[in-house]
């Protein structure tokens, strides 16, 4: 009996020490010899294409900056951790990066884990500029900013497109009801849609995300289907629906469609319908910063993970670099051992104070609202024409 009490006490003490350890105002960056940028994303798993693209492109930008002498001689270092698009992995990833001296961050690549990342970074006041976590709630804390369009914005732009092109007609909607990304876009889409448009909608969930025969049956008479979902279920839907949906039909997706033409074992040309997405990056660009980025990226990592997520990450690193440079030029001191919180204050002041990132890969004059949402133009990008 006495032993059990002792063991229980020991366990209690260990856990309490663990709790208090998180409370100290430790500056983990005190021993840094480079500025450390942290990133969490799905480097493996169903959304691995996004995480890999972001990690690759961010590394590309960091390497370029370092090769050009860094920021006043101080180099940058990127730490990329794998969350498999699973929000429960974020806490561990975040702590390991924070304790490794992370001073500024690209946040999380995808939305669901991003919400977790946002809360943790708010506690420590760590600045993040996410390339691709597009949830409306992602930038609601003052330390968070987005390079991609917020979901609500994507839903609104898509609704405007439908209002103009399909007035008075029937369209289909296929979304994932238990995912913040998909539901967020869908809600805004629905809100902004004209009442003249008749909507046939159907959903799926994470647990049932491969057999879509019932959903396809529901949508079989639609010639325009709005699909605010990620590429893996989208490709499965298209494969199963290719003979059932009209051959001149249109699948219209948001940034989640990006990479659908690079799935191993899925040949996009076997799908007769048109596949289109709303984007901020033209992966077939023939000129400008986008073209330069594509050439550099493909040379280093190949074309299989080239997508707007990488492009956006590349812009994120440069935007942070430029903002830090602007702050230093404006008289601020940013030592290599600056704490994440101090750097966050400096960057917040810049991003809220009219900082503009010019000639980005994903847009020309990119600026931010005080809410953290990005201001830039959108393009309609046809991934594949109807056969």
């Amino acid at each position: 009996m006495k032993h059990i009490r002792l063991i229980a006490l020991a366990i209690a003490v260990i856990f309490c020490v663990g709790l208090f350890a998180g409370c100290g105002e430790t500056n983990y960056a005190a021993n840094n010899t480079e500025y450390v940028i942290g990133l969490s994303g799905p480097l493996t798993g169903g959304a691995a294409m996004y995480g890999s693209a972001v990690a690759n492109a961010a590394q590309l930008a960091v390497d370029e900056i370092n090769a050009a002498g860094g920021l006043n001689g101080i180099k940058f270092k990127l730490i990329a951790t794998d969350d498999m698009n699973d929000a429960t992995k974020i806490s561990t990833n975040y702590s390991s990066m924070y304790e490794s001296g992370m001073q500024v961050s690209l946040g999380s690549v995808t939305t669901q884990p991003g919400l977790e990342f946002k809360n943790l970074s708010a506690d420590d006041n760590v600045f993040f500029l996410t390339p691709s976590a597009s949830g409306d709630d992602i930038p609601t804390n003052p330390n968070g900013f987005q390079m991609c369009f917020a979901d609500g914005n994507q839903g609104k732009v898509a609704a405007e497109f439908v209002n103009t092109n399909y007035a008075g007609q029937t369209i289909g909607v296929f979304y994932k009801s238990d995912e913040a990304y998909s539901k967020g876009i869908y809600d805004q889409f629905k809100t902004n849609l004209d009442s003249s448009i008749n909507v046939v909608e159907t959903t799926f969930t994470e647990a049932n995300s491969s057999d879509f025969s019932t959903q396809i049956d529901t949508l079989k008479d639609c010639t325009f289907i709005f699909m605010p979902i990620y590429y893996t279920p989208a490709s499965l839907f298209m494969t199963q629906a290719k003979d059932i949906i009209a051959a001149d039909g249109v699948y219209y997706g948001c940034d989640g469609f990006d990479g659908i033409d690079n799935i191993d074992g899925f040949d996009i040309n076997t799908i007769p319908q048109e596949i289109t997405m709303l984007s901020h990056f033209n992966s077939k660009a023939t000129e400008g910063p986008a073209k330069e980025f594509i050439d550099k990226y493909v040379e280093k990592y190949g074309a299989s993970t080239l997508n707007q997520f990488g492009a956006s990450a590349y812009d994120c690193v440069y935007a942070i670099f430029n903002a830090m440079k602007k702050a230093i030029d404006g008289g601020k001191d940013i030592p290599v051992t600056i704490s994440a919180s101090d750097l966050c204050e400096i960057l917040k002041a810049e991003f809220n104070g009219g900082f503009t990132y010019q000639n980005g890969v994903t847009g020309e004059n990119i600026s931010w609202e005080s809410t953290g949402y990005v201001n830039k133009g959108a393009i309609k990008y046809i991934i594949k024409e109807a056969n």
Binding site: G46, N208, S210, T214
Partner: protein, 290 residues
């Protein structure tokens, strides 16, 4: 009309898959009195074997290899993991089964990675009749399911081994006294269950040509639900429960308002059945001796 027809066909084909998996659960439960929670993951293994052998572009070879591999795997798991626990507490067996389930999933993830693999076994296309368009693979699934179930029913009723299986499930001790090799029968049961799971894996790939290490997890739980609804231990019960669950799922997906709650609805049925009729639709009532 066409809406009802296509929903029923899709529901029956999905239900057929559930039924096929549920048969594995129910037979193993009936004979070995254990819940083999690793059963769902045999589906996933079957799927990956098909994926590997589809490199030879021969669907029949791939299917055959999947069945053979799953049968061997099922028997090996039984011999290595479950047989030493015969006579142990049911909880120990249950935990072992869950452990095997995680082992299989993790092995698959180590070997094949966590990203989905796409594999097209055979493209049947789709067909329209009476105004309803359905994938031919759904009809194939339905047809094969009916044949397999009929064959299994005949096997159990009219062959020596089949009747021995019934005897073991009725009373293991008495069966043993009558000269039935109980261990042998349990091995056969695992072999049949695993072969059915391999077929279920095939049908999943025909429906949606994508495979991941968690492919079997949800169907496994759904099939378990189906087995309990039908009456665990009862072969016709597993078929009935599977088909019922498949149809409920498809109807639920058709109704926009309740579609997001489909899983909840299916599991609610399980809870209701357990409350109202704990032995399921076709399960035998047993008086427990205290």
């Amino acid at each position: 009309m066409e809406l009802i027809l296509s929903t029923v066909i899709n529901g029956l084909s999905l239900g057929g898959i559930y039924a096929m998996i549920a048969l594995g659960y129910t037979m193993v439960y009936g004979i070995a009195k254990m819940l083999n929670f690793a059963h769902g993951d045999i589906i996933m293994v079957g799927g990956y074997v098909i994926y590997v052998f589809m490199a030879f572009h021969n669907p029949l070879l791939a299917i055959l290899m999947a069945v053979v591999f799953c049968v061997i795997l099922g028997v090996v798991i039984e011999k290595v993991a479950y047989k030493p626990l015969r006579g142990a507490s049911p909880l120990a067996v249950l935990i072992t089964a869950i452990g095997i389930s995680y082992l299989l999933q993790s092995l698959a993830q180590i070997i094949f990675g966590s990203a989905n693999k796409m594999v097209t076994v055979y493209d049947f296309g789709s067909v329209t009749f009476l105004g309803a368009t359905v994938q031919v693979s759904a009809l194939v699934t339905l047809g094969v399911t009916v044949i397999v179930m009929a064959a299994l029913t005949l096997f159990v009723k009219y062959t020596r081994i089949g009747r021995a299986m019934i005897a073991v499930s009725e009373d293991k001790g008495a069966a043993q006294l009558m000269g039935i090799n109980v261990d042998g029968i349990i091995t056969v049961t695992f072999a049949i269950g695993s072969a059915l799971a391999a077929l279920a894996g095939l049908f999943y790939l025909l429906k949606a040509p994508s495979i991941s290490s968690t492919l079997g997890a949800m169907p496994g739980i759904k099939a378990f639900t189906a087995a309990v609804i039908g009456g665990i231990g009862s072969i016709p019960g597993a078929m009935l429960g599977g088909l019922l669950l498949g149809i409920v799922e498809c109807i639920s997906y058709k109704i926009t308002v309740i579609a997001p709650y489909t899983d909840a609805i299916e599991f609610s049925i399980l809870i209701i059945i357990l409350l109202v009729r704990p032995t399921g639709f076709l399960g035998k009532k047993r008086r427990e001796k205290v």
